[in-house]
């Protein structure tokens, strides 16, 4: 089953916006069933856009990272790219402390954000979260989930073509927090 422009299918053909989406699968009697292979794409459909498609793998609602988990991404400063990330919170919401570090860890900045339950929040131009005009080369962000549960997906995007991709932040086995 393929649904094109799934936002329009949900919110009406003329509506504009962005949303969290959940796919719930049951057997024909309404009972819980195994999860199908689900892929999604979000792409630049503007004239001149390549319709290059970035697929974000789904995350099962019982597989969010819990409090105490540390995640990290180091793809925040790609050449000719901008960087957003989105946070998907579980049923209790989430409180997350972020730590930005440059290549040698000398510039270190922290900020803590609280998220609504069962919601997605996208941080556009993520450098602003740390009071930066741009990320430094070879910099990284660590996220420590202090309460609730969540997962985080980074979306570096080419400044010229607006081609984009999606990548989950990786779990860090032990933190230095």
């Amino acid at each position: 089953m393929t649904v094109e422009d799934v936002y329009g299918a949900l919110f009406g053909g003329q509506a504009q916006g962005k949303a969290r989406m959940v796919v719930i699968t049951t057997d024909m009697a309404g009972q819980e069933y195994a999860l199908p292979v689900t892929t999604s794409n979000i792409y630049n459909a503007a004239s001149g856009g390549g319709e290059f498609q970035t697929y974000g793998p789904p995350v099962a609602t019982d597989r969010f990272y819990g409090a105490g988990t540390v995640l990290c991404d180091n793809t925040v400063k790609g050449a000719g790219e901008r960087y957003n990330f989105d946070v998907v919170a579980g049923s209790a919401g989430a409180t997350i402390r972020y730590t930005y570090r440059d290549a040698d860890g000398a510039d270190e900045r922290t900020v803590t954000v609280t998220y609504k339950p069962v919601a997605t929040k996208q941080h556009v131009d993520a450098q602003k979260l740390f009071g930066l005009t741009s990320f430094a080369a070879n910099s990284s962000i660590v996220a420590e989930i202090q309460a609730g549960s969540a997962f985080i997906r980074g979306t570096p995007t080419n400044n010229i073509t607006s081609d984009s991709r999606s990548q989950p932040w990786q779990e860090v086995s032990i933190s230095n927090q």
Partner: protein, 330 residues
């Protein structure tokens, strides 16, 4: 923490694999180059060793290596890592193994590794596709079934690469069109500790092109492996990397409840897509979203898709629609 072992052996160095790095001419005028970034998120210094193994070759101690030391909280970026390992003027593609330790052979945590392989030819956007690394103890074992539905993107070509564990792998692939009417199987054996890329993957099934909404499943019959698909834009040669997803049940005739599934507030477990959109963005972009659900099971299933506006908690008033995924023909 990890070093204090109550008299046991200290932990060994941690190992992660990047399936492919390259410095190589490709199709449609493309030229592929790879960079890698390694972050040490810990409060101590870490030493990483990088080993390159040529494409479709079993790893050996003769493979070229290099090392880097990363300070606490620091990140090292290595541009054109293929050239750094194999030398200027060399062209080819390879598997990359990254081993992290304290410099004395003791594991002190797993660094955060990202890699990119991109078209660096003139006119290429240097759009970077990062392939997440695979832990060497994280390969899928025999009996696992993986799948991908992104083989037929609009204006795209499709390759996939197979990275194997220490025993190699034998994998049975099944191609199916959207209703399972055209179904083709192919079995391939792979070398141990190696990566093999299937370029123009439709050729593996004797096809000139994949059909719309078609899919591939891979049944690992022996050994262990991970598979990564790389759809690539035909106009720009921009590419991306995505691991094939594990399929819990298959078309083998067995109906199996999802192992380990837990209900959330008494409701069936759902799959969350972080963001879908129909939205103007920058600079002059307009974002839209599609979704594909592939029923790999032996019976029809019901699918409900719900949307919750951005930065809003889900509620029963959120819009939704239902569909029915019939099983594909066996």
């Amino acid at each position: 923490m990890w070093v204090s072992t109550n008299g046991g052996s200290p932990p060994p160095p941690t190992e992660q694999v990047i399936a492919l790095i390259a410095n190589l001419d490709g199709k449609l005028g493309s030229h592929w180059v790879s960079d890698v970034k390694i972050t040490n998120p810990y409060g101590w210094t870490m030493t990483v060793a990088l080993q390159g193994t040529p494409h479709d070759t079993a790893a050996s101690s003769a493979d070229p290596t290099m090392t880097r030391t990363i300070p606490p909280g620091g990140t090292v970026g290595i541009e054109d890592v293929y050239k750094a390992l194999f030398g200027a003027g060399e062209q080819g593609k390879a598997r990359l193994l990254i081993t992290a330790s304290n410099g004395s052979g003791i594991g002190l945590g797993v660094p955060v590794v990202t890699s990119n392989i991109y078209n660096a030819a003139p006119g290429g956007g240097e759009f970077q596709t990062y392939g997440a690394p695979i832990a060497t103890d994280g390969f899928y074992p025999a009996g696992s079934v993986l799948g991908d539905t992104t083989v037929k993107g609009v204006g795209e070509r499709y390759n996939f690469d197979v990275t194997t564990g220490s025993s190699g792998a034998t994998i049975k692939y099944t191609y199916r069109d959207s209703v399972g009417g055209d179904q083709r199987a192919k079995t391939v054996s792979y070398k141990p500790d190696a990566t093999r890329q299937h370029v123009d993957a439709q050729n593996l099934f004797g096809l000139a092109a994949f059909a719309p909404s078609s899919s591939l499943t891979a049944e690992i019959q022996a050994g262990s492996a991970a598979i990564r698909g790389t759809p690539t834009n035909n106009a720009t040669s921009d590419s991306r990397s995505q691991p094939w997803q594990e399929v819990v049940d298959t078309l083998q005739g067995t109906v199996t409840e999802r192992a380990g599934a837990e209900s959330v507030s008494g409701s069936p477990v759902g799959q969350v897509i972080s963001l879908v959109a129909n939205l103007d963005g920058k600079p002059g972009s307009h974002w839209m979203s599609d979704v594909t659900v592939f029923n790999s099971f032996a019976q029809a299933v019901s699918v409900v898709i719900k949307g919750t506006p951005h930065d809003t908690s889900a509620s029963s008033a959120d819009p939704s629609f239902a569909g029915c995924c019939r099983r594909v023909r066996r």
